[in-house]
Symmetry: C2
Subunit: 157 residues, 2 copies
DNA sequence: TTGTTAATGAAAGCCATTTTCATTAAGGAG
DNA sequence: CTCCTTAATGAAAATGGCTTTCATTAACAA
């Protein structure tokens, strides 16, 4: 077994077990699919990919697993306003780097951008600090997202 | 009939008719409720308020009217991630002033804040410009929102 | 006043997600 | 390695916000 793969498994197995969750084939499969896809998969996307690749993991389990993985902090749940949740590997040593999303409201294409991120993050950090103090809130997250029409959708109209 | 009220009515009646929509009792009632409530009402909230105040407007009509009012730009549709849309009077001469939202993920309380707004708006504007150019997008909107636990929910745990 | 057509409401439908419940299997104890 | 406790799973049913359908009503222009 290749060293890299082994270490990767160790990593998420430890994280799951450390949080009191069991390591199962379904969880492994879902995590594997997320790590090999370019983000933004819906539960059904994952369901289809899992069934295409090999075998049986019910939709229910996919939803439950995604909850677990969110809980553990390995996966981020995204909302692009189209009525279904999307999931991507959370940023971190194993995941992608920090980015925000630009969503086409016509074709639902999503662009991850990292430009301007530094300024955004800096402003968000300051604002969070200010809001926490002023409103006595413990801030745990934020959403910053842009919506619009991509080139194709803009012209096709 | 008081002058203020008359002018207020004129205003939205004109706006509706100018966009080819008819003026109906239901639309008047919904708009009135929105203007007298402190923001963030769900369709069902409005439904209950309408039935408490006087009479019959079906939930279907409320959804349809809110769509119309969004279309005309009189109402903003909000998404706080709890699975139901919220609506508030759009900012403008008749509506509230520009603000963003701070959401408690435990009790769903929402705080409108205007602090830090100038900087946020400025950054958003610049980022939009950059993204439009780089990704050839026509940006039509954005979401910036903070999530966390309010004082009460933080302690009650 | 009348005619056209948008607006309405009740009921049915839609669909992502959740719940229920009986079955299976992870992983610690022995 | 085997047992045992309990989490994990899947199928099916349920949930719930929202939308569609369709027959009826009412805006408002002529």
């Amino acid at each position: 077994m290749p060293r890299g793969k082994c270490c990767g498994q160790r990593w998420w197995q430890g994280k799951l077990q450390g949080c009191g969750y069991r390591v199962t084939a379904g969880r492994e499969a879902i995590l594997d699919i997320l790590s090999k896809s370019a983000g933004h998969l819906s539960a059904e996307d994952i369901y289809l990919k899992i069934h295409a690749r090999d075998a049986n993991v019910g939709l229910t389990t996919i939803y439950r697993t995604l909850d677990v993985l969110s809980d553990v902090g390995m996966v981020s749940k995204l909302d692009f306003g189209d009525g279904r949740a999307r999931y991507e590997l959370a940023e971190g040593p194993q995941g992608a780097r920090h980015h925000h999303h630009l969503v086409c409201t016509a074709c639902n294409k999503v662009i991850d951008y990292t430009d301007f991120i530094e300024e955004e993050v800096e402003l968000l950090k300051q604002t969070e600090k200010g809001l926490e103090k002023k409103y006595d809130f413990h801030i745990t997250g934020h959403v910053i997202q842009f919506y619009g029409l991509c080139r194709a959708c803009s012209e096709g109209k």
